[in-house]
Symmetry: C2
Subunit: 197 residues, 2 copies
Amino acid sequence: MARRHDPERRQRLIDAAIRVVGQKGIEGLSHRTVAAEADVPLGSTTYHFATLDDLMVAALRQANEGFAKVVAAHPALSDPEADLPAELARVLGEWLGGDRTGVELEYELYLAALRRPALRPVAAEWAEGVGVLLAARTDPVTARALVAVIDGICLQVLLTDTPYDEEYAREVLTRLLPVPGTRDASGPGSLPPATAG
Amino acid sequence: MARRHDPERRQRLIDAAIRVVGQKGIEGLSHRTVAAEADVPLGSTTYHFATLDDLMVAALRQANEGFAKVVAAHPALSDPEADLPAELARVLGEWLGGDRTGVELEYELYLAALRRPALRPVAAEWAEGVGVLLAARTDPVTARALVAVIDGICLQVLLTDTPYDEEYAREVLTRLLPVPGTRDASGPGSLPPATAG
DNA sequence: CCTCGTTATGTACGCTCGTACACATGGGAT
DNA sequence: ATCCCATGTGTACGAGCGTACATAACGAGG
């Protein structure tokens, strides 16, 4: 009854969708659950997002900004003087250490692209976005490699209940840098006692 | 009518489940679709696998053997003399280059562990299995890193429609090896022209 | 041969889902 | 002030789902 003329309805639906995925997983995402979460009638969700894919694309696009924000909060990542692997490892630690819901959500939507072609471009945008950011500090090949290993590390943490090990991440990221840039390196020569599974 | 006393029913249901996931994705997996694919009545699937999780665990466990078989087919991976990164890159190429259905299926079930705790241990088994195999050639930390980057590379290929680049994979894997083992290295010093996004 | 428990089968119940569609409403253009 | 259409609302339909359960067939052990 009341809520006629709600100009932010669409945005609130996206927010609701993100909350739903965060709480029930992507399988729990439906027009109805989103409608309930946003406290709007069912018909409203189908009006603003004709198909579920539309809604997921919008949600994934917005969720992607989560990591971007964490990155943006660390200007050191763009500082050519800073220790890139150490900074990246720290950022990952923050991201994985905080409310894990956000990370799971982002990866869940990200991974959903495996079966949903509609999400594929958005997933690519994410990888490319992080890649571009990192390429500014290294080179395209290294950047892609860093993105790959970041994904891999996050998956290991999320999928196998292994706690995140920042020192391990730093070591692995360091190894990926092209050799000329031995950085200020305290010497990657020998392994840290680190944490092996 | 006919098929009373079918001693391999259970196994055929697992096979059918794998085919279903391969064709329709994990969301298409249901007691009914599996029953149809295996050409058995609905009640039969619920008899052998009370819950869908049971069925998925069995399917994931069997699917995991896919990569293991590819690995086993490359004894060079266990040969201390062989060039590990090159061999790994080649194996990945074979795996990703063949019938992609198998890879997608394996990753789909693997990634499903993100939201299904029941699958978590099986996913961990896989990572650990590959890890142990690689640890025999390097060390635990490096092995975990290799698994991470392998996952990351596969995800990049599967999620962003980027073709697999074996040379790139070889380079990245090489960098991950601990420095003392500069291997026979033709010199990781400079980047290949490679493929950058 | 007969009994009995494991295995197999068919059907039904209650639920959620995507989608369609008819109707209400209110703000901006005229 | 009026009209019109983008926006909002409620309800219904058909389909698929997990699950439960009563019943049938079979093979092993008596």
